[in-house]
Symmetry: C2
Subunit: 335 residues, 2 copies
DNA sequence: CTGAAAGCGCTTACAG
DNA sequence: CTGAAAGCGCTTACAG
């Protein structure tokens, strides 16, 4: 008998249609909330059939027909960083609430991987792309040229303007400078990655600029660079370089908390007292700080609030709306 | 002109067929690696067309036809826990290497959310489900009844046997007991969540059993329970209860590192010296410990190795193979 | 070695 | 208010 349900397979739209005694078109309209042109008796029959069979629309069929899926790709450089994990978690939640599903891709900050994921997600008909720290790459350029919905988080799109969600990084750096000024600490330094993203560069610049406004000479503030696979290793490399050349400062800016953790370790190893002899101020304010890093003041970034804003930006892209940056508030948490 | 490509749309299989001057069936076979029955000249023509057009198979079409997608659902209770983030990251990598994509779902350990995600992923034709700490729920029972591919990580399936990836939790607890024994510490205690998963329960049991083998009386080892939205809050609740009733022990087992962080904070607040007066041993050995928690010994769990093993289990499910547990090695890292 | 044809589940102009 | 029909991109017996 043609059109019969195969046992074991989930019920399809046509199963619902047959059960309710209506056409597939009618069921489709009702499933999609188009109640305007169906009699209430039909609507009831269809809803009863849907409930009875436990019907859920098959997204492969829908995607094929609509030429778009519910899939949003999140490209994140590194889930080991609690800040990135917090962004991923809050974005996952917000996407889900809006009816999408998040596919996670770990780029390790590498352009080839970013491109591979961009291509793979295109084949999945991804509806949009959230790049939590984009790096320049040919595939990113191609996606922009195709007019894909792209939202950049934390780090600005290095290849041109894209909707952005983040904080005022220059101001965050300046706030750290202000705090050291309040404390009367003038022997300052900073560490940084050898190759800087826009966000880190802005934090360092904001810090140095404000220091000069407070009367310090920029040349008197050493900024040591480090390299490594993650912010822990990179921070460790940088702090050793800094201390080797300039000794320990009295106040140290670490543009991420993981770098601050690395500095703390080097301090422990070299007998430097934290925060007694050197005050460290980080950026991120990871959850763990309040539990096990009472020595660390840090600029809190509201990563848990990023998700809904990211989704708003994405939906604005789909509607072709303007692409104003969304800058969220930060605050220095003192410990 | 019928069959013409719409500009802007990605090339389809039939575009490739037209360009190469062959049928869609032939292209499909070659795309899927079925080279056995095509002449080498045809293969070359098709491969040239694929490269020339930049063709990638559309997964919606493929999923619809094959009735299965490349999507694997990962249900994780909480990405804020670095251990969970590490599992997610390594699994994402391993799935990607095997040609799948991972959709992340944050269940917050809640049965309703677990069921909602299970249903949503079914509508996406998910090929398999990775449950990192499953909770009992009707939807889980239904998925098992349908014969879905389900792999449980860390925590065993509370509703019946499922392929499992984890460590020997009893042994991990026993190893902690052995370490305290070596150190000659006999005033022991532990904290735990009020409602325990299999993994935590086994850690506590293994610890207590080994303690009795070392001549301690089980009743002399207080185990305080706590509640809270995450292991930090829950651990904090538990340690306060423990200390309030029994005072600080000399040796404390925390069945997760986050609980150890909470204990450390309470120690700081109450002036208890760690590790001088109380030694804490955790389980997980989070990456950060070596940087900022030199006071914490911990049982290292090789979360970074979980991914490939999880994928092996999943593929075994698909092939209907046996479901032997995969127990990975752990070791106590002393600090 | 190759292709025509059917069909996976869905949506959407179009006709009535 | 409702339905028949076409088609999204792909795969797979089947025929030759």
């Amino acid at each position: 008998m043609p059109g019969m349900r195969r046992p074991g397979a989930p019920p399809s739209l046509s199963d619902v249609a047959r059960t309710a005694g209506v056409s597939a078109a009618t069921v489709s309209r009702i499933v999609n909330g188009d109640f305007g042109r169906a009699s209430s008796v039909t609507i009831h029959k269809v809803q009863a059939a849907i409930a009875g069979l436990g019907y859920r629309p098959n997204h492969a069929g829908r995607s094929l027909r609509r030429r778009e899926s519910q899939i949003v790709a999140m490209l994140s450089p590194n889930l080991d960083n609690p800040a990135m994990a917090a962004i991923a978690a809050s974005t996952e939640q917000a996407l889900r609430d809006a009816g999408y599903v998040m596919v996670l891709c770990d780029t390790h900050d590498r352009p080839e991987l970013q491109d591979e994921y961009l291509e793979a997600m295109r084949a999945q008909l991804a509806r949009g792309y959230i790049l939590v720290s984009a790096v320049p790459s040919p595939g990113l350029r191609a996606a922009m040229a195709r007019g894909e919905a792209i939202v950049c988080v934390n780090r600005r799109n290095p290849l041109g303007p894209s909707p952005f969600v983040g904080i005022d990084n220059r101001k965050a750096g300046a706030d750290v400078a202000d705090r050291f000024h309040e404390l009367g600490i003038t022997a300052l330094a900073a560490i940084r990655p050898a190759v800087m993203s826009s966000s880190i560069a802005e934090r360092i610049e904001g810090f140095l600029d404000r220091c000069t406004e407070h009367g310090l000479k920029r040349a008197a503030i050493p900024v040591a660079a480090g390299t490594g696979p993650d912010h822990l290793a990179m921070g460790y490399d940088a702090i050793r370089a800094l201390v080797a050349e300039h000794g320990w400062p009295a106040g140290l800016l670490c543009p991420s908390d993981l770098m601050a953790y690395a500095a703390y370790r080097h301090a422990s190893e070299t007998g430097r007292t934290i925060p007694g002899a050197t005050r460290i101020i980080g950026i991120d304010n990871n959850t763990f700080n309040q539990w096990i890093a009472p020595w660390l003041s840090s600029v809190e970034i509201p990563y848990r609030d990023f998700g809904p804003v990211v989704v708003e930006q994405l939906e604005a892209c789909w509607e072709g709306a303007a692409l104003a940056d969304r800058i969220l508030p930060h605050r220095l948490v003192q410990r």
